[in-house]
C-alpha cells in the first residue's frame, strides 16, 4: 500500500482576477496529522473544497488514495470525512437521527448503523444526549457531533476546517484530545486553523498558508530552525539588574525578549545550564527556568514581518 494518502500538485483556483489558491503542492502520509495554518482568506477552505470535489479547480491535480476528486468524487468522498467551519445539523432531529441520515447517505450497511452510531457518540462523549434535539446543543457539542460522524463513517482522511474556532479553552482542549484519538484509529487528519498556537500541539507537521500559497512546511522545530535560525526557546523568570545583557551575550543566544519580567531566550542549542550560571554570576535571583516550544505565531510573524524580529 502506498504510504502517501493525499497528494496535491500545482493546485490553483481563480475567482475572476483573484487567485484564491495560487498553486500549492502538498503531501499527506497515512495516519499523519497535518495542520494547514494561516490567516482567514489565505485559501485554506478553497483548497479543502477542491480536495473534496465540491469546487472545481482551475488547474492542478489531486490524488486521494488513488482517486481524482474531479473524476471519482463519490469514491473520494467515501474515503474522506469533512467537518466544515461552524458545522450545521438538522436542529429538529436528535443527534442519533442526524447521524443515521448521513450513515444512510454514506451507504453504510443497515444492520451495523446503530452500533456504529452508539460507539462514535460514546467516543466523543455525547452518548448521554444522543436522543436530544441538536437544536439544544452548544457549539462545542456540534463540533464533537461532527467528529462523531467522521468516526462513524470510518474514513481514511478527516478534513477539519477551523474545528476550534469559537470554542472556549476547555472545549478546545477536549476537541484536540478527540482529534488525537482519530489518529489512533489510523485516520490521517488535515486540520485547518488560523489559531496557530492552539493547534500546533496536535500536528505532526504544519503548512503555513499565505495569500494562496504554502510558504513554509515541516515540523514545528524544523520551521523554527529555518525561520528563526534557532530551535530552542527558554523562559527565564529572574530579578536582578544587568541579567538581560549578560544573557544576551552568551554564546548561542539569538534573541532575548522581555515580557512582564520574564525573559524569553531564543537559542541554537540547549543553554539551560549556561543560563542558570549567568544568572548566578550577575547576583540575580532565579525564580524559574524552563524550556518552551517555539511558537508558530512567532515563526509566522518573523517570516512575514522581518522588522518585528529586531525588537
Amino acid at each position: 500500500m502506498n504510504s502517501i494518502l493525499l497528494s496535491v500538485c500545482g493546485l490553483k483556483k481563480r475567482y475572476g482576477p483573484i487567485n484564491a489558491v495560487a498553486g500549492i503542492d502538498l503531501e499527506l502520509r497515512r495516519g499523519e496529522i497535518l495542520g494547514l495554518l494561516g490567516p482567514n482568506g489565505a485559501g485554506k477552505t478553497t483548497a479543502i473544497l477542491m480536495m473534496l470535489g465540491l469546487t472545481e479547480p482551475s488547474d492542478g491535480t489531486i490524488d486521494i488514495d488513488g482517486f481524482d476528486p474531479r473524476r471519482d468524487p463519490l469514491e473520494v468522498k467515501r474515503r474522506v470525512g469533512y467537518l466544515p467551519d461552524s458545522v450545521g445539523f438538522y436542529d429538529n432531529l436528535t443527534a442519533r437521527q442526524n447521524l443515521r441520515y448521513t450513515a444512510r447517505l454514506g451507504g453504510l450497511p443497515r444492520p451495523k448503523i446503530e452500533a456504529k452510531i452508539d460507539r462514535s457518540l460514546r467516543r466523543v462523549g455525547l452518548d448521554p444526549v444522543a436522543d436530544r434535539r441538536v437544536g439544544t446543543f452548544s457549539r462545542g457539542m456540534r463540533q464533537r457531533l461532527g467528529i462523531a460522524e467522521i468516526l462513524m463513517r470510518g474514513v481514511k482522511l478527516a478534513i477539519l476546517d477551523e474545528p476550534t474556532s469559537g470554542l472556549d479553552p476547555q472545549a478546545t482542549f477536549e476537541l484536540l484530545e478527540i482529534i488525537r484519538d482519530l489518529k489512533l484509529d489510523g485516520t490521517a487528519v488535515l486540520l485547518s486553523s488560523h489559531l496557530l498556537d492552539r493547534v500546533q500541539a496536535v500536528c505532526d507537521r504544519v503548512a503555513l498558508f499565505h495569500e494562496g500559497r504554502i510558504v513554509l512546511e515541516g515540523t514545528v522545530p524544523e520551521l523554527a530552525q529555518n525561520v528563526l535560525g534557532a530551535g530552542y526557546v527558554f523562559e527565564v523568570e529572574v530579578v536582578g539588574a544587568g541579567v538581560r545583557r549578560l544573557i544576551a551575550h552568551l554564546e548561542g543566544v539569538r534573541e532575548v525578549t522581555e515580557d512582564d519580567g520574564i525573559l524569553r531566550v531564543l537559542a541554537d542549542r540547549d543553554l539551560r545550564a549556561e543560563l542558570a550560571q549567568a544568572v548566578v554570576r550577575s547576583n540575580g535571583s532565579l525564580f524559574r527556568l524552563s524550556s518552551a516550544e517555539p511558537s508558530l505565531d512567532a515563526i509566522y510573524r518573523h517570516h512575514f514581518e522581518p522588522s518585528h524580529a529586531a525588537a
Binding site: 469546487t55 473524476r71 468524487p73 463519490l74 468522498k77 466544515p84 441520515y101 447517505l105
Partner: protein, 322 residues
Amino acid sequence: MPQRRGSPFTGVSVVFRKEIADHIGGMRMRVLEWLVLLTGIGAIYTAIQDLRTTTAEDPFLFLRLFTHARSPLPSFVSVLVFLVPLVAIGLGFDSVNGEFNRRTLSRILAQPIYRDALLFGKFLACLATLAIALATLWLLVIGLGLVTLGVPPNSEEILRAGAFLIVAITYGGLWLAVAIACSVFFRSAATSALTALGLWLLVSIVWPLLVEFVVTAIYPPDPAMLLFGGGPSLGSLELQQRLSRLSPSTLFGESVLGLLHPSTRALGPIFMSQLEGAVPGAPLGLGQSLLLIWPQVTGLLGAMVMLFVTAYVAFQRQEVRA
C-alpha cells in the same frame, strides 16, 4: 472536463425519505393542510346544498361537485387554482437555501452523493407530499359526495375526476419547480418566498389584466363593429388567448374545463360553420376531452421541466461555501 463516475442517483431515496418525513411531520404542512381542507370543504358544502335539488337532471352530477359555485363562495376548482400554488410554494421555497442557512449543505454534499441526488430527492419528496395532500382532499370530496348525494359516480366520472387529480398535481409540480428554483437563486428564505409568491400573483391576477390592456392597445375596438353588435375581431381574440396561455393558471383552468365539463368542444374561438351538425350540449367522450386538453397539460409539464432544469443547472454551478 473529465467524465464523472458513479450514479447521480446514489442517495436519492435516502434524501426522499428524510424530506418526506420532515414534511409530513412538520408544522408548516399541517397549517397548509388545514387551510386547504377548510376552504375546500367549505366550497364543496355549498355546492352540495345546490346539487341535492338537481340530482336527477345532470348526467355528470359528481363532476359538478368540483365545479359548481354558489356566490359568495367560489367553486372547489377555483379554490384549488389559488391554493395549490400556495401549498407548493410553501413546501419548496426554502428547500435549498434552508440547507445553506442551517450550514448543513456542505456537510451533506461531502457525503458520497452527487448534488443531483439532493435536488431530485427534495423535489420528489415535495411532489409526493403535495400529491398525498391533494389525493386525500380528492377522496374526501368524493366521499362527501357519496354520503350527501346518495348517487354513486359512474366510471367515466371517476376517470375524469382522476385525470383532474393528475392535472392538479402537475400544476402543483410546476409551482414547486418555481419555488425550488427561487430557493436555489436566493440565499435568503424570505426573499425566495416573496419572489415565488410575487410570481404567482403576477401570473394569476396581474397577467390577465395586462393581457386585456395589451390586446386593446394592439387591436383598438372597431367602432363600426360595435355599432353592428359584432364581437371583437378574430385577431384580437387569438392574441388574447395566446398571451393569457403564458400563465399556468390559464392552462390549468382550461384543462379543468375540458375534463370536468364534458360538453366543452373547443377551448379557442369557434365559428358558426364549425358547429354545423353538432348537437348542442352533447358531451364528448373521455378520449376526445383528453385530446382537447393535451396541449395545455403538455405546456404545464414542459414549463415544470424547464424550470426544474434551470434550478438544477444553477445548483450544480453554485459555490458551496458561504
